[in-house]
């Protein structure tokens, strides 16, 4: 395994590590970009970016894990661009860097949690993006997911007189609050909802209508950009069954081979345990291989 750590981009302000495709096999003509989740630096939550990069390199796929402007070991931005413009510019600079170091011309972007929106934006902006993985960034509830979440809470308190007594007391104490919460949740679902990555749901760059998002993801797939929407099971409160996000995004009747939905029911959001990491790594690797570009870079319009 060969890796190099380098600075790149305007004024060499960005920092990342390239994992080169393992020698001996045929190197893939596409590479993978990995970057920050929240404020976690380029190694990723529980070092998952490092592990994924090396897993891919062993299969002939180069990867660059790097820090966006102002994150990890990269320099701060000069403030002249909006957040959306800046992260797209950073991802483009990372594509340039991986291309100049390895020769790959197409790119898959793995957006972990808060990295999902930048990946989505970059896919819309740059034809070199051949695939995006959007991991656990959206939490649009459905009636079924709300019932399953409530069912899990019921199971926690068990059945029988003691449990029902506890529920009755809880209902008396918090009935009003629970109804208010359920009403807000369903109202948000009926209209639109913000992804859980947004800070307050009000920033124009991060507000997403779920049906609009669904349409745009399908449009990306139809133009040849692979899309994998991946969700974690965590505590059942956000996404808790395989078809939930497809349904919530209005895509239950839309099937396209370059639009994949996958659910990891036993993996928590931060991919904490080593067993969870193995499941996540296998799933993302398999998704990336399935969405590998079948052609060279499309001609410019």
């Amino acid at each position: 395994m060969r890796e190099t750590t380098l600075t790149f981009g305007l004024h060499d302000a960005l920092l990342g590590t390239v994992s080169f495709a393992a020698p001996g096999g045929r190197a893939a003509p596409w590479g993978v970009l990995l970057f920050n989740a929240g404020v976690i630096h380029r190694v990723g939550a529980h070092r998952t970016n490092v592990k994924l990069a090396r897993l891919l390199a062993a299969q002939g796929i180069a990867a660059l894990r790097f820090d966006l402007h102002g994150m990890g070991d990269s320099q701060r931005a000069d403030g002249s661009l909006s957040y959306k413009e800046q992260v797209v510019a950073d991802l483009r600079a990372a594509m340039d860097a991986l291309q100049s170091n390895t020769g790959v011309q197409r790119f898959a972007l793995v957006g972990f949690c808060s990295g999902a929106l930048p990946s989505y934006w970059a896919a819309q902006a740059d034809p070199r993006v051949s695939a995006i993985v959007l991991y656990d960034a959206f939490s649009y509830p459905t009636a079924r997911s709300v019932l399953r979440s409530l069912g899990m809470r019921l199971r926690r308190h068990g059945v029988g007189p003691r449990a029902w007594s506890a529920w009755l007391r809880a209902a008396l104490r918090g009935g009003h609050a629970a109804l208010h919460h359920a009403g807000r949740t369903l109202a948000a679902w009926r209209a639109s909802a913000s992804p859980q990555t947004s800070d307050d749901g009000t920033a124009p760059d991060t507000r997403l209508d779920r049906l609009e998002l669904g349409k745009n993801l399908l449009a990306l797939a139809q133009r040849g950009t692979g899309v994998m929407v991946l969700s974690a099971g965590t505590d059942f409160s956000a996404v808790n069954y395989a078809g939930q996000l497809r349904q919530a995004l209005g895509l239950q009747r839309q099937h396209h081979q370059r639009l994949i939905f996958a659910h990891l029911p036993d993996v928590d959001h931060a991919v904490t345990t080593r067993a969870a990491q193995q499941q996540w790594l296998s799933c993302v690797r398999d998704g990336l291989l399935r969405l590998a570009p079948s052609s060279a870079l499309p001609a410019s319009p």
Partner: protein
């Protein structure tokens, strides 16, 4: 900041060298920053980055690096251990002194990074000037127990009611609780090495000035006294004025940088805090 790749035998390490700022007064003094372990290192990354930037701005040369089997360095998680990390820190120190041509060197470390900085200073050919030990591990077995508790707490928080209700989930996700802590491997050898850490690691003092920043000064002084350390000239214990849980993956989107710790280090190195 310059990315550097080092080798400790077959172990390839990634380091970042911060040259002294050109506008700063020449210090001829280098500072090695030693990472803590696992999730604590992930959480402390921002602190180390800001600490290195501030020190460089004040004229110090700084090197921070990832041990083998951690961070950006080569090696799987289960290859990480304390003894190997002490060797890695020695190589990093040599590189820092080679690059900086500094006459003096000091080191700082948080949690297990403090233990590694201590041992590195004890083994170095050139004596260290200052050591800053932030919330150091002074009782290895207690630290292992705290890691195990933090691990279970993190899983309870992440999975909520499922972790309690679903035995198959617990069996699948955490088959052997001792083997990992918050997603990072803890091999049997590694656990044995950590279990040997005690306050006695401070003796003999490897630097003329050793400063401990701790959340509980009284308890630390008692522990040092039991190990015969408290009376050693050059040891200072100060209140860290912060109770930060480094071994957690909650508040993952929060960067934690207690600036008064960085100012404390600058003071220790003889620099005004406003540098």
């Amino acid at each position: 900041m310059t990315p550097v790749r080092l080798t400790n035998g077959q172990r390839e390490l990634v380091a970042l060298y911060h040259a002294p700022a050109a506008y700063a007064p020449e210090q001829r003094h280098a500072v090695l920053l030693c990472n803590p372990f696992g999730q604590e290192a992930i959480r402390a990354h921002r602190l180390y980055r800001v600490m290195a930037d501030r020190l460089a701005a004040a004229g110090f040369a700084v090197l921070r690096f990832d041990y083998y089997g951690s961070g950006d360095s080569a090696g799987d998680d289960d290859a990480w251990d304390v003894e190997g990390s002490i060797g890695d820190a020695g190589v990093a120190l040599d590189e820092l002194l080679r690059r900086s041509h500094a006459r003096h060197w000091s080191a700082a470390g948080l949690r297990l990074g403090a233990s590694i900085a201590l041992q590195t200073a004890g083994l170095a050919a050139q004596p260290a000037t200052n050591l800053l030990l932030i919330d150091p591990v002074l009782d290895g077995p207690a630290y292992l127990a705290a890691l195990a508790a933090a691990n279970l707490e993190a899983l309870n928080r992440a999975y909520g009611p499922r972790w309690t209700v679903c035995a198959p989930l617990r069996r699948a996700m955490l088959p052997r609780a001792d083997d990992e802590a918050l997603g990072f491997a803890l091999s049997a050898d590694c656990r044995r090495q950590i279990a040997r850490i005690s306050a006695a690691w401070l003796l003999p003092l490897p630097a003329p000035r050793v400063s401990l920043l701790v959340p509980d000064v009284a308890a630390t002084r008692q522990r040092l006294a039991r190990a015969g350390v408290e009376d050693a000239a050059g040891v200072r214990v100060a209140d860290s004025q912060a109770h930060i849980d480094w071994a957690t993956d909650s508040a993952a989107a929060t960067a934690i940088v207690p600036m008064h710790w960085i100012n404390h280090l600058l003071d220790l190195l003889g620099q005004p805090a406003y540098a």
